[in-house]
């Protein structure tokens, strides 16, 4: 009885747009000039939001916040492949996804300022409340996909998490179920190389995170997470595959967390300046700008307009958010159950 290979896998890596702004035309996804400009504007808006959020936190005007700096292409590129009817299960570092889907920016600020009302997703969106515990949203996405499949809804479910999330048991349990039932889910991992202070090589001995999907019976692909076209292309294909009954896909966006884990963290304690500088060269917005300039889609005047517009939008959102009155203290009781418990009614009277 000879020993033989009974299974083997190849992990694809996708990159379309390089750091100099050169795109591989043979791999370019179908995007109109208008799409590209819209994507660029969303990237700038997300970065502007992030910058403002960090400043507001430093000034004591907002609570702890998890920056998306450096990960904008992974977020906008994947979200741009989704429809409003699709369902999204985000982690806590997903403000670019929210912004790309049209979530009101003042509500995001409201949430990070410590007001639950900011997480009341508007009725025209299906973004589930962000998950603070790492990776626990993965089975939720799987369950929603099971429900969509049962109801015959032709939608995709997108589930976002980070490299740290791949170490959790819920990653395994969710991926396993998604594979068994062949569900319409797109798992999007932003491998930003750091789970607070623990580097990617200490998180798993796997060469890639993408390869983990093959053990669950579906494809995993690694993409350059700072390359908006690669992320969009992989996401678009995965979403279409999900909608047409082709089952789940795992996309590992290879990127970098340029900021601290949150405003409560100091990344200089555990990583080098050189590492961060190397990744600064790979900036996702810079390379799209170079590409657009070459295509005649970007001018300094355009940049000025986009930046000013983004600043105005965020300034307006800050103004709106800061004008919102504190929630009624009784509000903390109102959403525990559909109806108040007798004991809650008595407790409410104390406020």
């Amino acid at each position: 009885m000879p020993e033989r290979i009974i299974e083997s896998f190849n992990v694809r890596y996708l990159s379309v747009l390089d750091e100099k702004g050169d795109a591989d035309e043979s791999l370019m996804p179908s995007l109109s000039d208008e799409d590209i400009k819209r994507i660029y504007e969303l990237l700038i808006l997300s970065r502007t939001f992030d910058h403002h959020a960090l400043s507001l936190q430093r000034e004591g005007r907002m609570g702890t916040y998890a920056s998306i700096l450096g990960q904008e292409a992974s977020q906008i590129g994947s979200a741009y492949a989704l429809e409003k009817s699709d369902w999204i299960f985000p982690s806590f570092r997903e403000m670019g996804v929210y912004i790309a889907m049209g979530y009101p920016i003042d509500m995001l600020l409201q949430y990070w300022s410590g007001d639950e009302r900011g997480m009341k997703t508007p009725d025209d969106l299906n973004i589930f409340s962000l998950s603070v515990p790492v990776g626990t949203q993965i089975p939720h996405a799987v369950g929603a996909a099971m429900a969509a499949k049962y109801k015959g809804d032709k939608i995709a479910v997108a589930c976002y998490f980070g490299d740290g999330g791949t170490s959790k048991g819920d990653f395994h349990e969710g991926f396993n179920m998604a594979g068994v039932v062949k569900l319409p889910v797109v798992f999007i991992c932003q491998n930003n190389q750091w789970a607070i202070s623990v580097s990617r090589d200490k998180q798993t001995a796997s060469k890639t995170l993408a390869q983990k999907a093959f053990a669950y019976g579906f494809e995993g692909v690694q993409v350059d997470g700072n390359d908006i076209f690669a992320v969009y292309k992989a996401a678009k294909e995965a979403v279409e595959k999900a909608r047409s009954g082709g089952g789940p896909t795992f996309i590992e966006c290879f990127t970098y967390r340029m900021s601290d884990h949150t405003t409560a963290d100091d990344a200089t304690r555990y990583r080098t300046k050189e590492d961060v500088e190397t990744w600064a060269q790979k900036d996702p917005i810079l390379r799209l700008r170079l590409f657009m300039e070459r295509k005649g889609l970007w001018t300094e005047q355009y940049e000025k307009e986009v930046e000013e517009n983004a600043k105005a939008v965020v300034d307006e959102a800050v103004k709106n958010e800061e004008a919102i009155e504190r929630p009624d203290p009784k509000d903390m009781f109102r959403y525990t159950y559909e109806t108040l418990m007798p004991r809650q009614i008595r407790e409410m009277r104390e406020l």
């Binding site: 089975p139 939720h140 799987v142 959403y335 159950y337």
Partner: protein, 320 residues
């Protein structure tokens, strides 16, 4: 009217609700073709198919997590955890998510989910097959905890739990599954959550219990003029029925299978002490499992409150 045991009554409730509402689905380990290890879901896979009676991989956190996703999407999932001792890996999903979905989204998303799980001593089984940790879940706002004590109330309570807009933990005593048969109407009826029931009126002493312990209580009180309350729902619990009874009898004994420390009896005892102290003629007494790790079958009879132990405590309270 058919005489059913608790397994059959629960099975009937599941079947009728699935027939009534196509958004009701069942998921769990061995719930499909096998009909569940206690046969509670027997025949449902054949009637409703594998899309509605879903045999899941062996993954408790995944089962509850997926059920949350289904509930948020608009289904009414009923997840079975094979034994209460196996719910611990899923506590993260229950505490971190199921209980908080409504609050976190200010009501935009809700989690109408039922988690059925067999609990307690009863089948001489291995480690972690006899747990009674209901109080853990009573401390978590956002979930409800229901413990039926008979085939009749199991059916009525389960129908209410399935129709409830919030997550419900539904605990089924393995000892009671096949212990008693009683009349269970085929017609639709519900028993509201959050209401206790006086199942025997009396003047001298109030005895409070739920689930499997209720039957030992009924044997123990035979020589007393005792009022017996079946809690049925532990969270939210019915304070009024307890106050009314304790104010009448002036004595309260609480009996449960779980360990004494931080058991649900502690909450009931404190509640009575806070609001009915001046009516009491004797201290409130708890007759409970001991503060030990649930023993394996050879010692489980020593762990459980017996009819004799309950009687002794009732006598002590009466003599005080």
């Amino acid at each position: 009217m058919p005489k059913l045991n608790m397994v059959q009554a629960i099975n009937l409730a599941l079947k009728e609700e699935m027939q009534r509402d196509s958004s009701v689905v069942i998921l769990g380990e061995d719930v499909g073709k096998d009909g569940g290890v206690f046969r509670v879901t027997e025949g449902l896979w054949e009637e409703f198919g594998s899309e509605r009676v879903i045999d899941t991989p062996l993954a408790e956190s995944g089962i509850i997590g997926a059920a949350i996703g289904m509930a948020v999407y608009g289904l009414k999932p009923i997840a079975e955890i094979q034994f209460m001792g196996f719910i611990y890996p899923a506590i993260d999903q229950i505490f971190s998510h199921a209980s908080r979905v409504r609050n976190r989204s200010r009501g935009r998303f809700t989690c109408p989910l039922v988690i059925r799980t067999p609990y307690g001593v009863g089948i001489k089984a291995p480690d972690l097959h006899s747990e009674s940790t209901e109080a853990l879940f009573c401390q978590m706002p956002g979930v409800k905890v229901v413990v039926p004590s008979s085939p009749y109330n199991a059916k009525g309570l389960l129908v209410s739990a399935i129709r409830d807009p919030d997550p419900v933990i539904f605990l089924e005593s393995t000892r009671l599954y096949r212990l008693i048969k009683e009349d269970v109407p085929k017609d639709e009826y519900t028993i509201p959550l959050g209401e206790a029931r006086v199942i025997q009126e009396g003047k001298d002493i109030t005895v409070i219990a739920w689930g499997s312990m209720l039957h030992r209580v009924l044997q123990a009180v035979e020589e007393f003029d005792a009022e017996v309350i079946d809690m049925m729902t532990l969270s939210p619990f019915d304070e009024e029925t307890i106050f009314k009874s304790v104010k009448k009898t002036g004595r309260a004994v609480i009996v449960h299978e779980a360990p004494k420390t931080c058991g649900f009896g502690a909450e009931l005892s404190a509640t009575i002490a806070e609001d009915a102290m001046l009516y009491l003629k004797a201290p409130i007494v708890r007759v409970t499992g001991y503060d030990v790790v649930m023993p394996l079958p050879k010692l489980e009879d020593y762990y459980m409150p017996t009819v004799e132990r309950i009687k002794q405590d009732l006598e002590e309270v009466m003599k005080y």
